[in-house]
C-alpha cells in the first residue's frame, strides 16, 4: 500500500475549531472560579486573592439552609427513584413482548419529553390546590416531583445492564432450589449493583441540579441551593454567589468523575 503524502483522517481547520471549542467551554468556568477568589466587594473590581467570600458564604444561614435542603431532597429523590426504577427495569426486561410493554417504556420516559417549564406549571397548578386542601406544605411535594423526573435517569443504566444479562444464572439458582427471592437477593442483585449505583448517582445529580421545576413547586422559604442562587442573580450580585457556584461546581466534578469510574469498571 502506497504511503499517502497526507494523513487521511485530517480535515483542514478542524483541529483549530475543536481547540477553540474546548477553550470556549472552559473559559467561562475559569472566569467564574477566578472571581470567587476576589477580595473586592463587587464583581466590577479586582482587589487580589482571598477566601473572603467562601467564608462569608459558609456563615450565611440562608446558604446553609438551602444546602441542607438540597442534599436531603437529592438523597430522598435519588433513593426513591432508584428503587422504583430498579423494579420497573426488572419488569420490563428479559421477557417476550407482552401487552402494555411499549406503553410502560413510553410512560417511564415521559418526563424527558416535556419541557421542564411545562411540568413546572402543571405541578404548580395541582400542588397549590392540594396545599390549600390539606394544609400540608412541606418537602413532600418537592420529593414527589423530583422522584418522578429522576426515574427515567435511574432507569437508563439499570435497564441497559439487565438487557445484557440473560436468565441462565437465575435458572441455575432455581434448579438448586433457591426461592425466587433468594435468587434475586444472591444472584441478580449483586450482578446489578454497579448499574444501581450508577442510576442512583445520575438521579442524585439530576435532582441536585434542578432549578425550574423546584422554582414552581417550592413553598415560601423552601429554597434549594439552585433556586437560592437564581433569586440572588436578580440583585446586584456579590462574589459570594461565585464562591457558592465554585463549591457546587467542584462537587459536580467529583460526582461526575466518580460516576465515570463506577460505570467504566466492567464486572
Amino acid at each position: 500500500m502506497a504511503k499517502r503524502p497526507f494523513d487521511i483522517q485530517a480535515q483542514p481547520g478542524f483541529g483549530f475549531m475543536a481547540l477553540l471549542t474546548f477553550f470556549a467551554l472552559y473559559l467561562p468556568i475559569a472566569a467564574l472560579v477566578t472571581y470567587s477568589f476576589n477580595t473586592a466587594d463587587s464583581l466590577s473590581r479586582w482587589d487580589g486573592v482571598s477566601l473572603r467570600w467562601f467564608i462569608s458564604a459558609w456563615h450565611n444561614s440562608a446558604v446553609q439552609d438551602a444546602s441542607v435542603r438540597s442534599l436531603v431532597l437529592a438523597v430522598s429523590a435519588a433513593a426513591l427513584s432508584t428503587i422504583a426504577a430498579t423494579m420497573a427495569a426488572l419488569a420490563t426486561t428479559r421477557t417476550r413482548p407482552y401487552p402494555g410493554l411499549t406503553f410502560k417504556y413510553a410512560f417511564i420516559n415521559q418526563p424527558l419529553m416535556v419541557p421542564e417549564i411545562v411540568t413546572g406549571v402543571a405541578l404548580l397548578i395541582v400542588f397549590s390546590r392540594i396545599k390549600v386542601w390539606t394544609g400540608y406544605s412541606g418537602l413532600g411535594y418537592l420529593i414527589a416531583a423530583h422522584t418522578a423526573f429522576c426515574i427515567p435517569f435511574a432507569y437508563l443504566p439499570i435497564r441497559a445492564r439487565l438487557d445484557s444479562m440473560d436468565l441462565t444464572l437465575e435458572r441455575a439458582a432455581a434448579d438448586l432450589y433457591a426461592t425466587p427471592w433468594k435468587a434475586f437477593r444472591f444472584v441478580t442483585l449483586p450482578l446489578l449493583r454497579p448499574a444501581i449505583i450508577a442510576g442512583f448517582m445520575l438521579a442524585f445529580v439530576i435532582s441536585l441540579d434542578d432549578v425550574v421545576i423546584t422554582e414552581f413547586v417550592k413553598s415560601g422559604g423552601q429554597d434549594t441551593l439552585p433556586t437560592y442562587m437564581l433569586g440572588q442573580l436578580r440583585r446586584e450580585t456579590s462574589p459570594e454567589i461565585n464562591a457558592i457556584a465554585t463549591v457546587f461546581l467542584a462537587l459536580s466534578v467529583v460526582l461526575v468523575t466518580a460516576f465515570y469510574f463506577v460505570n467504566r469498571r466492567k464486572p
Binding site: 481547540l19 422504583a84 426504577a85 410512560f107 417549564i117 411545562v118 406549571v121 418522578a148 423526573f149
Partner: protein, 306 residues
Amino acid sequence: MASAEEVAKEAERRDIRDRWLLSAPALIIIFLAATGPLLIVVIYSFLTPGPYGGVVWKFSTDGWLSVLMQRDIFDDTLAFADAHLSIFWRSISLSFYTTVLTLFFGFPTAYFIATRPPKTREVWVFLVTIPFWTNLLIRTFAMQQVIRNEGLVNTALMALGIIKQPLQIMNTDAAILLGMIYIYLPLMVLPIYASMEKLDFRLVEAGYDLYAGRWQVLRRIIFPLIKPGVIAGSILVFIPSLGAYVIPRVLGGGKNMMLGNLIELQFGAGRNWPLGAAISITLMVLVMIALLFYVRNASGSEGAHG
C-alpha cells in the same frame, strides 16, 4: 388435570401480572407528579382566569384565543398579538440559530475527538462531559461573567484599546444565543462523536483512492455515515432551546423573553392561568412536532444507530 399447555399459559399470565405489580410504583409516581398534572393543564387552558390568579370554573376559549390574538378593549375586535408573536418568533429563531451554530462548532470537535488515539480520546470525551453535567444555572452565570459590561470580553477589549465603551451584550438576544450555544454544545458533540467513533476510515481511504478531494470525502462519505448522530444532536439541542427558561431569564434580562418566560409571566404577574396553560400546551406541541420529525428521519437510518 390441566394440560401442559394450560399450565404454561397460567404461568405466563401470572408473570405478566407480577410485572405490572413490579412496575406499578414507577408508573404511579410519574402519573401523580408528571403526566396527571399535564392533563390538568389541558383542562385549565379552557377555563376563565380568576381575579387574583388561579381560575374560575367556567368554560372559555379566551385562553387559547389570546395565545396569538388580542381583543381590543374599546371595540372588541380581534387583532394579532404582536408581543406574543415576537416571543414565538424569538424562541423558534434563537433555537434554530443555536442548533446551526452548535453543529458548526460541534461537528469539527466531534471529528477531532474521534480521530485521536483511543487513550487520549477518553480524556477529550471526559472534558466534554464535565460541562454537560455541571449545573445549568452555574454555566449560565459563568457565561454572564464573560459577557457582562465589566466582564472578561469587555475588560480585555478595553485593555487592548479596541473599544472605549463596554459593549452591551447582556440583556440582548445575542446574550441569550451565546448562552444557549455554550450550554447546549455538549449535547451536539456527544451524539455526533458516538456515530463518528464507529466510522470506518477505510471508506475514507477508498474515497481518496478514487480521486475524491477532501471536501468531497467529507460531504459524500463522512457526512452521510454520521447523519444519524447529527440528527440526534440537532434534536437534543433544538428541543431544550425551545423550552429554555433560565438562560433567557438570566442573560436576557426580563425584556427579551422566550416562551418559557412568557408562560411563567402568565402564572405570576400576568395572572392569566388559562393563557399560560394554553401557551404551555402550544410549546409541548412544538416539541412533539420536532420529535416526530426526528422519529421519521431516524427510522430510515436505523442500521447506523447501533
